[in-house]
Each structure stands twice: as structure tokens, then as C-alpha cells.
């Protein structure tokens, strides 16, 4: 890439200047020089991405190439401005500085992607659309995409909530009561390990609508891990806690609500996390096969019409939604379980 080698020669003197500006604080010099240098490179990578959009003619017919180039220039300018004025931006500046290596990598990746698809078609074209084609999907097909997003969220939220609550209650009952455990445990062992997707045919002709069938499947996929981990959490609570609570006058309801459940919560969250993962899989499969809405259905539809850029666009949205959901779950856990030392960060 010509842009990259050019950027090197320009960048070096600039970063030395940067370093000189910070020379008043000799101790911080190496790190700020390094960070500033990366910032300059990141900015240049984005400018290079913009140039790569403009330098050659598109091989296909995409309407947003120029807009994309302008956006890349703006981002490049923003990065260099933030690098120079990072100390006036406070926490945002510090956060940005920490991420400049990623911005650099992203700029380079986009440049390579642009050149390899839209400009020289090193990657075969309909299957590997360029960035501007995906941007085009977001601008032109937004209503349908948004509808799909909302349909997916609705289905996922309903199924997940039902599965999580049912799994939690079942887990607590099995863990607490021996007789409930006697009856539920074998059922759980028999049915639980079955992948929820295996129920698809059954669910779609048993339930009145494909929506309720999918909700059932998602709830099932969520419920099994939540049940097992809640159960193991409740069962592993040390008897010493119950003894203490009992000598202090605790009734059985107190033992369940204030001893067993809080003590089991770390396990419950592992179950919720695992349930979330497996319910995503069921959601997409259910939407592809039965429900005529949602991101899974959108993916299927896009593939059917060979609209590959729509497929990639939907995949990106889907990954953002899934990782957003998991982040939300982890934040909730960190808030509820502040008492735990060294919890896993996400």
C-alpha cells in the first residue's frame, strides 16, 4: 500500500515535535511520545482509507463511496486533533489514547478491505462487498433492518426472561427440597442435555404460533443451564451458614431468601451467562426456520436474494446486539456481587 509507506515519512518528524512539546515532563516523555506517535499513525491510516476510496474507480455501482471517504477524512482529523489536545479532553481523551492502536489497526484493515474488494476485486465481488456497500444497506434498507432488530429483541427478551425465571425457580426448588429434587432431577437429566433446536419440529406444530414456539425454545435453551447452576449453587451453600441463621432465629423462608439464594447468586450468573449464549443460537435458528421476522430471518432472506452486503450488515448488527446483551449481564452481576473479590471482567 503506497499510502502506508508515505505516512511513515511524514509521521516521524511530527511525532518528534510532539515529543518536544512534552519535554517539560521528562518522566512521561517516552509514553506520551509513543501514544502520540500511534495517534498520528492511526490518523494517517484513516486518511489513507479515505484516499483509497477516491484514488481508483469503483468496480461496481455504489453510491456512498465519496461520503465514506469524507467520513474517513473526518475521523482521521478527529484522531489527530484528539492526539494533540488529549490532555484537554480529560477522561474521553485518555480513553481514546488507550484505543489508538485499535484505531490504527481498524484504519489499515478498512484500507485493505476497500482496495481488495471495490478497487481490484482480489476477493470475488458479490460475495465480498466493500465497506460502502454495507453502509448503503444501513442507509437504504434501514426500516427493514430496524424491524428485524426489534423483532429479534422482543423474541429474545421474552424467551430469555421466561427461561431465566423458570430456571431460577426450578433450581432453587431442587436445591432446597429433596422431594422436588426426586421428581425433577431425572426429568432434567433426560431432557436437559437435548439441544433446544432438536425441539424445533415438535415446537412448531404444537404451539399456536411460530412466535410462541420460538419463545418456548429460547426459554428452554436458557432454562437448562440456569436451573442446573442455580441448583448446584444452592446445594453447595455451606451448612454453617444455615446453622448461624437458625441459631439467630431464622425461619425457613429466611433461610431460602436470605441465605441460600444470595449465596448461590454467583453460580446463578454463570448459568444466566451460559443460557444467554445458547439462547442466541436458538433465536437465530428459530428465526431462520419458522418466524418470519428478526435478524435470523433477515440473514436467510439476504442469502436467498444473494444480497451479500445485507448479510454482512445484519451480521455486524447481530454481533453488536449479542455482545451488548452480555455486557449488560456482566454489569448487572458486578453491581449485585460487589462483595465478591476479583470477579471476572468482561
Amino acid at each position: 500500500m503506497s499510502t502506508y509507506s508515505a505516512s511513515k515519512t511524514v509521521a516521524l518528524p511530527q511525532s518528534v515535535e510532539e515529543g518536544a512539546a512534552f519535554a517539560g515532563r521528562p518522566l512521561s516523555l517516552p509514553t506520551s511520545l509513543l501514544a502520540g506517535g500511534t495517534g498520528v499513525f492511526a490518523s494517517l491510516a484513516w486518511v489513507g482509507f479515505g484516499l483509497s476510496c477516491l484514488l481508483w474507480e469503483d468496480l461496481g455501482d455504489w453510491s456512498h463511496t465519496h461520503a465514506l471517504a469524507i467520513a474517513a477524512f473526518i475521523i482521521g482529523g478527529g484522531i489527530i486533533a484528539a492526539t494533540a489536545g488529549g490532555k484537554w479532553l480529560g477522561r474521553f481523551g485518555a480513553g481514546l489514547q488507550q484505543r489508538t492502536p485499535w484505531l490504527l489497526a481498524l484504519g489499515l484493515f478498512l484500507t485493505l478491505w476497500e482496495v481488495a474488494t471495490a478497487k481490484f476485486a482480489w476477493l470475488p465481488l458479490p460475495f465480498f462487498p466493500p465497506p460502502q456497500a454495507i453502509i448503503e444497506v444501513y442507509t437504504d434498507d434501514l426500516p427493514k433492518l430496524l424491524d428485524s432488530v426489534f423483532a429479534s429483541i422482543k423474541l429474545q427478551l421474552g424467551g430469555y426472561a421466561i427461561g431465566a425465571v423458570a430456571g431460577f425457580l426450578t433450581g432453587v426448588s431442587i436445591g432446597w427440597s429433596r422431594s422436588v429434587g426426586y421428581w425433577v432431577h431425572p426429568v432434567l437429566r433426560f431432557i436437559g442435555p437435548l439441544p433446544a433446536t432438536a425441539w424445533l419440529p415438535f415446537a412448531f406444530f404444537t404451539f399456536p404460533s411460530s412466535w410462541s414456539a420460538s419463545t418456548f425454545l429460547i426459554a428452554l435453551a436458557t432454562g437448562f443451564p440456569v436451573t442446573v447452576l442455580t441448583w448446584s449453587g444452592v446445594a453447595s451453600v455451606s451448612n454453617a451458614y444455615y446453622d448461624v441463621a437458625r441459631t439467630l432465629g431464622a425461619k425457613p423462608s429466611f433461610l431460602v431468601l436470605k441465605v441460600a439464594i444470595p449465596a448461590a447468586l454467583p453460580h446463578v450468573f454463570v448459568g444466566l451467562f451460559m443460557g444467554l449464549g445458547s439462547s442466541f443460537a436458538v433465536l437465530v435458528v428459530a428465526e431462520m426456520i419458522g418466524v418470519k421476522a428478526g435478524l435470523g430471518w433477515y440473514l436467510q432472506w439476504a442469502q436467498g436474494w444473494a444480497a451479500y452486503s445485507n448479510m454482512y450488515a445484519a451480521l455486524i448488527v447481530m454481533s453488536l446486539l449479542c455482545s451488548g446483551a452480555i455486557t449488560l449481564l456482566f454489569r448487572t452481576r458486578d453491581r449485585l456481587l460487589v462483595w465478591q473479590k476479583g470477579v471476572v471482567k468482561w
Partner: protein, 265 residues
């Protein structure tokens, strides 16, 4: 006890309860084999008395405490608190265990509040929690979580969690067993002064002879399992006691002799 410290509404005579252990025998069922633990134990404790139960490790002392606490019923015999049979756990008899067993998801304050919360009287009695925490000198740690406390501090919290219930019988199951020797000495003195000020009946299980004679009015020495009472020794010395007291040293030697350990002296 804490109510006493705050309001002075109860006199020591009414705080402590008497305890009667009548011909209690107990056994564990381990894989079908019956393992006798307590063999025909009988003794009485007067209100406000401090009795130490001393015996070799694993002889069944802690089991006896569980019976007194009401956590388990005995296989035979009776236990009475102020003449009434002990049928189950009740907050007038609280236990401080060897491990502090604080609830890790609760702050110090919430741990101490546990008993009042379980009895459903926390809303009107919050000041008792504050007073109990002050009493053990941990007011600055009321919002700390258990993992932020040292072993001695955690055991103090456990003590406050017991005392906040105004127990009539305080049951101490080797509460200082896992603490370092300096913290032990400090807390022994604290327990002695708490007991003197409040007047609850105290039952202390220990296998530290020095601790027993330093703290208790009476030391009951148990044999190996199944536990029988070997000796019931009055420790008739005024409080505050001194560790160097020659009479206590003499008693200690006698008790070690009863336990078959006099060769080391």
C-alpha cells in the same frame, strides 16, 4: 446485653438463664455404624455462670453445644433452659462458632443485623446493631465486606452478631481457636469483661487449658470420645484475673494431669 449497655433496663440477675443437662447421650450414624459421642452427661449451670467445657480434640464437646443451641435433638436425655425443654434453636441461645461464618455478601452492619432481621424486628431496633458494632470496636468498618477484615476483626463481628440478640446463654464454640496468640489474649480479656458487665450465662468449648481457667467460674473436663464428665472444677478467683496468678497455674497443672498431659509439666 446490648440493650443493657444502652438502656440499662435489665439487671444482670434476669439476663442469664440457667441450663440443665440431664443424662444426655448422643451418637452419630456413620454409614450404618453407630458412633457414640456423648455418654450420660449431666450438669447444671447457674444463671450468669461462665462454664468452660474442656476435653481432647474430637471428644464431642462441640456436639454438646449443638444440642444446647437446639440445632440437633439428643438421642436420649433432656436439656432445659430455665426449666423449659430446649426444642429447637432460639435467639436467646446464640452460638459463636470457631469460624466466624460471616455472610460474605453482607457488610459488617448487615451481618450484625442478621438476627434482628430474621426475627422481623430490625426496623425498630436498628440502634442495637450500631451499639453492638461499637461494643466490639468496629464502628469504622460497618460498611466493609467480610473479605476486607482480618481474622480477629471477623470474629469480633461474629461476637457482635451474637450479642445484638441479647442472649441469655452465650455459646462459644472455640471462638478464638484460629486466631493468632496476641489477638487471642486481647479477645479473651474482652469476652471476660463483656460477660461481667452483662451477666449472660456463658458456655465455652475450648481445648486450651489456660483459656479455660482464665475465663471460667467452672471448668468441666471431658474424657475421650464418647465423652464423659471426668471432673467439675470450680475456679474461685476474682475478675479481672491475671495470667501469672499462681493459683491458676496450679489449676492448670491439675487439669493437664487429668487429661494425661502432666508429663510435659
Amino acid at each position: 446485653m446490648v440493650a443493657l449497655a444502652i438502656a440499662g433496663c435489665a439487671s444482670p440477675a434476669t439476663v442469664g438463664a440457667s441450663l440443665d443437662v440431664e443424662a444426655v447421650s448422643h451418637a452419630f450414624d456413620i454409614d450404618g455404624a453407630i458412633l457414640p459421642v456423648l455418654d450420660d452427661i449431666s450438669f447444671g449451670v447457674k444463671p450468669g455462670e461462665f462454664v468452660a467445657l474442656l476435653g481432647p480434640s474430637g471428644c464431642g464437646k462441640s456436639t454438646l453445644l449443638r444440642l444446647v443451641a437446639g440445632l440437633e435433638p439428643p438421642r436420649s436425655g433432656n436439656l432445659r433452659e430455665d426449666g423449659d425443654p430446649i426444642a429447637g434453636p432460639f435467639p436467646s441461645r446464640v452460638v459463636v462458632f470457631q469460624d466466624p461464618t460471616l455472610f460474605p455478601w453482607r457488610t459488617v452492619w448487615d451481618n450484625v443485623a442478621l438476627g434482628l432481621e430474621a426475627q422481623g424486628i430490625l426496623k425498630s431496633q436498628r440502634h442495637r446493631v450500631d451499639a453492638a458494632i461499637d461494643l466490639v470496636g468496629l464502628s469504622t468498618f460497618r460498611n466493609a465486606y467480610p473479605h476486607q477484615l482480618s481474622g480477629g476483626m471477623a470474629q469480633r463481628v461474629a461476637l457482635a452478631r451474637a450479642l445484638v440478640n441479647d442472649p441469655r446463654i452465650l455459646i462459644l464454640d472455640e471462638p478464638l481457636g484460629k486466631l493468632d496468640s496476641l489477638t487471642r489474649i486481647t479477645m479473651q480479656a474482652e469476652i471476660a469483661s463483656l460477660w461481667q458487665r452483662s451477666g449472660f450465662t456463658t458456655l465455652l468449648v475450648t481445648h486450651d487449658v489456660e483459656e479455660a481457667v482464665f475465663l471460667a467460674n467452672r471448668v468441666i473436663v471431658f474424657s475421650d470420645r464418647p465423652a464423659r464428665i471426668k471432673a467439675d472444677i470450680a475456679v474461685d478467683r476474682p475478675y479481672p484475673r491475671h495470667r501469672g496468678d499462681p493459683i491458676l497455674a496450679e489449676l492448670r497443672r491439675n487439669i493437664l494431669g487429668l487429661l494425661g498431659l502432666d508429663a510435659t509439666w
